[in-house]
Amino acid sequence: MTTAQLGDLSTGMVWAAATVYTIALVAYTLDLARMVDRLPAARVAAAGVRSGGRATGTLVADRGDRDGATAAGGLGAGAGRVPGTAPGVGAPGRRRSKARGIARSTTTLGLVLHVVAVVARGFAAGRAPWANMYEFTLVGTLVAVVVLLAVLRRRDLPFLGVVVTGFAVLALAAGLLVFFIQADGVQPALDSYWLVIHVGVAITSTGVFTVACATSVLQLLRDSRGRGSTALAGRGWRWLEAVPRPTELEALSFRLNAVGFVLWTFTLIAGAIWAEHAWGRYWGWDPKEVWTFVIWVVYAAYLHARTTRGWGGRRAAWFVLVGYACVLANFTLVNMFFDGKHSYSGL
């Protein structure tokens, strides 16, 4: 195969993956709707999990009633159990749903096509396939989908599926329609193994932040409904009762954000080392550097907020949204509208 054919193959695979993700998106949405239909039944199932108790623990605390209390009281009353050990409705094995099966298998299929697309793109260009905006979009979405599947293996969160596959479809479409450029070599400044390290890790953390942000959104919605928000009181939002409690979502979001933050710190340091090699200074307040720094500080603030009295829970979740908005701004606005040394978007 010539490199041009490989490039075309890659593009075709991206279209295919986007199509399959669209099917997954529909399936997740249906699954979410199913979840609402089954709410009362699911409650019973959840109670079953609880009273079944653990194999080892002969002294199981009375967690069942507290669960209800927290659902009503929101985060403030968030005493509870270890997240993930007995997620109640969140236990996938408890619920059979055709839509869920379809959603999982189409996501996996989409992921396979997506991987083929990225690999083909790499061979077509003869380098690591993440050197311009189109390719960042491709790989960042890939990471988000991988993290989604990893989380869904343990949690039954069709909402997350809706958000992440929806995001993936939009991002891939935007990539193909707006950011697309032919597979090609790179300019000398990018011809470095640091491209693989720095940009690779940056994209990975972006993918992780994406899923974390979706989780925080879910947490805020669930919490607001639990507090009796009128906007979320309608039947259309009833599915929120089926998702894990805000404390659990907060914990999940935190764990993802912690991973994302460490990766982002690494990105920042690796970027500085690369800048030292390529541009002769490790830090120069280039717009991209500024925004990388801003993102880092916002997520650091998030970690601090979590441990500051009165700032945990809901407020901390807002930091995640702000941080993720900065991540998106860094990727779109800064690449396209600010000139600086990072003008590699290829547009």
């Binding site: 605390a61 005493a79 094995g93 914990a251 764990r255 090699h277 002769g280 441990t307």
Partner: protein
Amino acid sequence: MVGYRPEGIEDTLDERTQAADGRPGAPVELPRLGLVGWLRWMWRQLTSMRVALLLLMLLAVAAVPGSVLPQRPQDPARVAEYLADHPDLGPWLDRVGAFDVYASVWFSAIYLLLFISLVGCIVPRTRAHLGALRARPPRTPRRFDRFPAQGGWTTSQSPGDVAGAARAALRGRLRWLPRYRVDVREEGPGVTVSAERGYLRETGNLAFHLALVGLLISVGTGQFLHYRGQAIVLEGRGFANAVVDYDTFESGAGFDPSSLVPFSLTLDAFTAEFDPQTLASRYFRADVTVRDPDGAERAESIRVNHPLTAGGAKVYLQGNGYAPEVTVRDAAGEVAFSGAVPFLPQDEVYTSRGVIKVPDVSAGPQIGMIAFLLPTAEELLPGQWRSTHPLPRDPLMVITVYSGDLGLDDGVPQNVYELDQSGLEQSVDAGGAPVTLYLRPGETVALPDGLGELTYAATPRFVALDLRHDPTLLFVLVFALTALTGLAVSLFTPRRRVWLRAVPGPDGRTVVTAAALARGDDVGLQAELDSVVAQVAGPDPGADDDAPPGADAPPHPQQHDRHQDAGTRPEGSR
């Protein structure tokens, strides 16, 4: 999360954070103590988590304008342009430092306050942590029933034996690096074991915060001691490492010019490769000869991403272009200027713009020219030229001519790439249109208005080299990596406490109960407790009524695994 705490437990893992966070009454209680009181109050505010949080957010917000507005250190020309375009707003922005945000008073104030707050926060925490490292694990609480992870069994072993086995299991196999710190206490007829792990979490956190302080100090010291110079070097020519030989030179207040190592460097050749289809640049290499002060010579090459090290400085290949060699004869026929003039590339195909200034004429007015070089020229329409390739396959120079006063004598330093047209007049033809001259290498043309003549001899290349020396680079790197490691350790080390209580039961057997508590959210807590229970109790703690006496042998690994599986995963969670 603060909410995550079983009720009724005074002793939590959050104490320290909470002390740092809301010292009792600090935010509301107004000081009554005069100056000292005020200072103490301010210090408390400054070192509180809430203020640190505020300062972090402020820092993020304050950093943004620098990416939106042009910044003087990065691009002074665009700042000047902005000021010209915004005569009302511009000067105000300038006054508040908006064109040099990262050196502005307010930006510096934020990060300095943040770091003072940081120091004020970590010094007491370090002290507390050092104390905690030597302290005994906290006492076993009286009741276990509110803890997030629990376990228990009965056994025929004596309470003392259970405690011994628990100690061994909790400490782990490595004698010098115990997993848990374990404390066994007598309690009536029974025994309790309290254990704690995860001190590394706080250690990592402190290392992270301390490394940030180290980083700031290193960066500041680097600013003080560094130097950086830029030099344009023509093919076949050289340059010496001395302040006067640089085109621009900039250094920190602590830099001593006599510390420059007097090496020199000659550009032997420059190679550029471009993509045949897209013409995008693919490869640049400058081959140079470096002459060290002791006279030793070595051949080296500098590429993008591969700087050269010479005389303690790093030499970067920052740019390249063409420097047409021209000779200008004035109206009297004397050579008024002769040399290579660096032209700045404007686009991917190296359409380059240069300015030729001829102040030293023996007769007539001073001459200035604005010239464009098209490395591979092609005439699209009559009189409309463009370059089609970045390599000099068919170079053409297109020139417009000015004469008058170049404005060089008033002592204000001028940009060599710009022509100050205020004292100049452009040469025009009979119809009033500007005169445009076209010439190829080897050609000579007469300048309009009898100004003289111009010869374009050849098209050598130049490279722009950047020399930089910063003695703190290694420190910056080490502190950055320490921060990264400390951060990962502090975020991913679980902090856990485990308690066991073994008391003689009514039937003569020993009743053992266990509980565990983690700091923050911890998915692995129950799994960890189950594994400890399994190790201490033996293979099947739930139903060991029939266990033969002395069933305290280590559990069979396989059984052990299966047991752990059952305990950690709720059915169907996989």
